[in-house]
Amino acid sequence: MSFDRIREKLNILADAAKYDVSCSSSGGTRKNNNKGLGDSHSSGICHTYTEDGRCVSLLKILLTNHCIYDCLFCVSRKSNDVKRAAFTVDEVVELTMNFYRRNYIEGLFLSSGIFKNADFTMERLLLVCKKLRLEQKYNGYIHLKTIPGASDELIKEAGLYADRMSINLEMPTEAGLKLLAPEKSHADVIKPLDFVQKNIAQFSADKKLIKHVPKFVPAGQSTQMVIGATPESDKDIMYTANTFYKNFSLKRVYYSGYVPISDDTRMPVLGTQPPLLRENRLYQTDWLMRFYGFKVQEILNDANPNLDIDIDPKLSWAIRNMQHFPVDINKADYKMILRIPGIGVMSAQKIVQARKFGKLRIDQLKKMGVAYNRAKHFITCVDTPYQIKDYQGTQIKAFILAESQSKYLKTDSNQLILF
């Protein structure tokens, strides 16, 4: 293989793959017990970060960017005038092995445009996985795209070699998807997601009865939605996410702010800034659902269909629900402490352990990592100063905004204040 040609291919096929934001390499359980290469790290490792601040953990490439589909939101759509390329199976195997050996990556994220048909594409992807696992004794991470429409047998076999599999919903609602990709539907995604999920459940049930059951997609499944290309509300997006977390036990839902790549009138115009702040708020909501015990309906509902831009969703919930505050740090249960703005999972755990040894003071909370300037409006502890006036939620929001500097709202900071 010629030096320049492999460089060109990598440039084309990495560039085409970068809009898939999934970067996680966590949840792998593969151990290096065949004296081969690679041993998974349960929490994953980010080996570097691109200049846009996103983590690089896996070699994320397409096998090819030739595609028979013409989805408007995708750079590799059939009608787009871009350079096309295709890796051979061996080229992907060599790149992965050599990058891994130098500690550049945690593993491979392999996706592909659809060439000929779904099964033909899925077979090639499967072949890469098999070569890596069986011939190269590779135990690093593999994240494999499930190709919608591929046969059950191929998908099931791929699950034996991949650590994670994913299929993207692309648009948060069926209507949005139909608008930009008339050939696709959410049903095409749901069928294989469901099939893989049922197999994961079956394998783990077998494992309880039989000693040696092979691994099947040990790091679970994930999906991705593109945000801001179509007019869905934050409520639409997060309710869809919630449904998919529930129905398919997904490990992650990714939200990808749309980066304009098309001049079609149905899409935001070229040069529009990707909605980075909105994306951030959606991830915060996702975290509140998964780690903080919030129900999605508490954060987003008909009265509040979109997340606040100026404050984060946890603070937003708190100032709408001041009847729950102030919370006594020395008495409240863990679940309630988790809901206090300015207190995260780690400090909440420290608080409930430490208060067994004596009532906690402000200085101790600060040392534990509580963002006290934020939390002080919502808590009492032993030496909380007596306060005559009860502030309204809106007043507290004003106090917090006055002393915090948003990393996003740069343009507002020099505004003249007249009164």
């Binding site: 290096n32 041993d39 570097t48 200049e51 050996r101 040894f357 040392k367 990393k407």
Partner: protein, 254 residues
């Protein structure tokens, strides 16, 4: 009262043993390296004793869960002078209180150790992420580092398990020792770098013929994976602080 110890972990543990023998009240613990004699303060030089150290360590093992033994060890590896003092007083605190005292995050020594351990674990994780091996002509994968803390003992297993089928060396330039894996075991080594030029990288002549290709492909990949419209330098530097750029193949020019 000042106790002066040799800077080793057994030395620190021996100091605790000696304190319990004498109960002299507050003692300030200093390593030999930074100790400056003070007028009017009594000094005792700790004679490191493996037996005494083992007894203290066994005691800690009985009193605390494994995660806290790890926090303790990590705090020691930070090599921060104040950390030695906290470790010393933490150990006394643990022995003087009932089991479970290490979860009292209201206690300053508990909190201090928890913070030191967090910093050291972060540095360990960064080394697992940022080390870049270069393949030399004789098939050895080589990387040199100079981490903020002494993390080689902590990353040993990770690299041994992961790169079981290739020989590798990770060398700590600051502490002048390294780890060498010979396909069977990992051993500590020291290298005598004769010329200044050798210190940064083994010279290019010694490299495997494909080394340049793969480092170039990796740099290409790093550039291709970036989305220019999302540029966020502040976030980039937060995740990869500039002091680590010297390790990173993708951050080198050319």
């Amino acid at each position: 009262m000042i106790y002066v110890f040799d800077g080793s972990l057994p030395g620190l543990l021996t100091a605790v043993f000696e304190w319990f023998e004498r109960k002299p009240g507050f003692v300030s613990l200093k390593s030999m390296e930074i100790f400056q004699p003070e007028a009017f303060t009594e000094v005792m030089v700790i004679d490191t004793n493996a037996e005494k150290a083992d007894r203290v360590w066994d005691g800690l093992q009985k009193k605390m869960k494994k995660t806290w033994l790890r926090n303790f060890y990590c705090s020691y590896l930070s090599e921060i002078p104040e950390a030695y003092q906290h470790l010393f007083q933490f150990t006394i605190y643990i022995f003087q209180n009932q089991d479970g005292a290490e979860t009292n995050y209201g206690n300053e020594h508990v909190m201090a150790l928890s913070k030191y351990a967090k910093s050291v674990e972060r540095e360990k994780h960064r080394m697992e992420a940022f080390i870049r091996f270069q393949k030399t002509g004789d098939g050895m994968f080589y990387a040199s580092i100079d981490p903020d803390f002494n993390v080689l003992p902590l990353i040993n297993n990770h690299f041994k398990n992961r790169y079981a089928d290739q020989q590798w060396i990770i060398y700590d330039l600051k502490r002048k020792y390294g780890l060498h894996y010979d396909l069977n075991t990992v051993e500590e080594i020291t290298i005598d770098f004769t010329t200044e030029a050798n210190k940064k990288n083994p010279s290019a002549i010694l490299m495997d013929e494909k080394e340049e290709l793969y480092s170039l492909l990796w740099k290409d990949y790093f550039k291709s994976a970036n989305i220019v419209a999302r540029k966020n330098t502040k976030l980039h530097v937060k995740h990869v602080p500039k002091r680590y750029w010297k390790y990173l193949t993708e951050k080198q020019l050319g």
